[in-house]
Symmetry: C2
Subunit: 241 residues, 2 copies
DNA sequence: CGAAATTTTGATCCAGTTCAATCCATGTGG
DNA sequence: CCACATGGATTGAACTGGATCAAAATTTCG
């Protein structure tokens, strides 16, 4: 399974240079690409899941459904993201993942990856880095939900999504095609759909963004950043010995 | 620096059996124990931080201060926890950590740990596991803040804190000494102090907990778990090859 | 013992939810 | 190519859960 041009290679390379030989040993443990249709579940809540899935194209959400019927979305999953982290470390998944568009990804069994870590320690560190990045994203989300106003939250979400899409070449300098419905954004930000809608209008009214349908234009990027108190968190490169 | 009886050894052993030799190579990279006084900052927001600190005794909080003056607490840090994860992976810390009681811990330079990972790949996996656990804790926190009612959040916080204290031998079967003020709990749960106080009273009124001062008694553990929809998330053991 | 920190209570108010209804775009089959 | 179905976006009105602000009561600590 060749990995050339795969968003995940782009992503890993940014963190730690990978030699051709290393990319090859990574490619060796991958199975054939899979794809799922919109609305299909990649991970079922409560089930066991022991694979790493590197998203190539398409979008998904990781979420938890509560008894009350409410849904909290933990993460918007974009190309380049890893599904199955941190789930693979646990007995059973505490969350579900569902595709919100057609989605294709490369899979490798978690056990194979772990074996690779024993052979080439670098990969163990890469895994740590990915997990740490995941944790940092979640941390930002906590701040958002706990102590930010709705408009700040939305600004943050738009900026973050834009930055992540940009990093894998799926966005323009200040515009992008938002692949998520308002219901999804509301469930990510802990708001009701009507309110999210009004907050979106507010952003437009203040000339911070322009949007027609799902096409978002970050008209005033600096203003948005100020509003969201946006701070980019750069991963430090992995030391090599 | 001998690590015998250190809470972190207890914690790591649960995830992955460590041979005596391995504990020793771990002990070798640790410096002398440090301690800080109440209110002292372990990590300053925006600074660089490249160490792993394993808490031996005492309590701390990881938090973010916003322009508005509001504070969001990301994590209540207890003995056995690691400070400097995921911070060490990043250029600069996005968060601050401050002790809320006298606190003692063992430190090792992050670079030393990384070097150890290259020599003994197992430690790279251990690091991944710790980071994944961190991410999972944060995920639960997100659900709490986004879609749970205040009383559910508090129930969850009490159960979680109890479970974590129990794991390091600092709690009774259904009672413990809560080392955090209501202000801290409020800032963790995204509530105002007066409201947190009232929610606490509500828990008492419904005979779910009894509490005098900081001593908490989980009178009706099953009821609390039901209320919080508590589900324990067990880490799977690291495969050994 | 006095100062500071923490917990508790009360009164007011508004942001955001809830529950509908409506509007709009897109796609589908006859 | 139209009639209809479906999912998403938008709007409106009413209600309410928590925030806010302020003060008092209580505990902790120097």
């Amino acid at each position: 399974m060749p990995l050339t041009g795969h968003p995940i290679v782009t992503r890993l390379t940014r963190v730690m240079g990978l030699k051709a030989a290393e990319i090859e040993s990574l490619a060796a443990i991958f199975e054939r690409d899979l794809s799922v249709k919109k609305r299909e579940e990649l991970i079922v809540h409560g089930s066991e899941f022991r694979s790493l899935c590197f998203v190539k194209a398409g979008y998904a959400i990781r979420y938890r459904l509560l008894r009350s019927g409410k849904r909290q979305i933990l993460k918007l999953i974009l190309p380049g993201d890893v599904v199955g982290l941190p789930v693979s470390f646990f007995d059973r998944s505490g969350y579900a993942v569902v595709a919100v568009s057609e989605l294709t990804y490369a899979v490798c069994p978690f056990a194979s990856y772990v074996r690779l870590c024993y052979e080439q320690p670098k990969f163990g560190l890469v895994l740590s880095w990915l997990a740490a990045e995941e944790a940092a994203t979640y941390a930002e989300h906590i701040v958002n939900l706990g102590r930010r106003t709705p408009i700040e939250r939305l600004a943050q979400l738009l900026l973050d999504t834009h930055a992540r899409l940009l990093a894998v070449g799926l966005a323009g300098e200040a515009s992008f095609n938002l692949p998520f419905s308002q219901e999804i954004m509301a469930d990510a930000l802990g708001l009701s759909v009507p309110h999210l809608n009004r907050v979106m209008q507010q952003l437009r009214a203040e000339h911070l963004v322009t949007s027609n349908a799902r096409l978002i234009d970050l008209t005033d990027l600096a203003g948005l950043r100020r509003l969201a108190q946006y701070q980019s968190t750069d991963l430090a490169p992995i030391p090599v010995f």
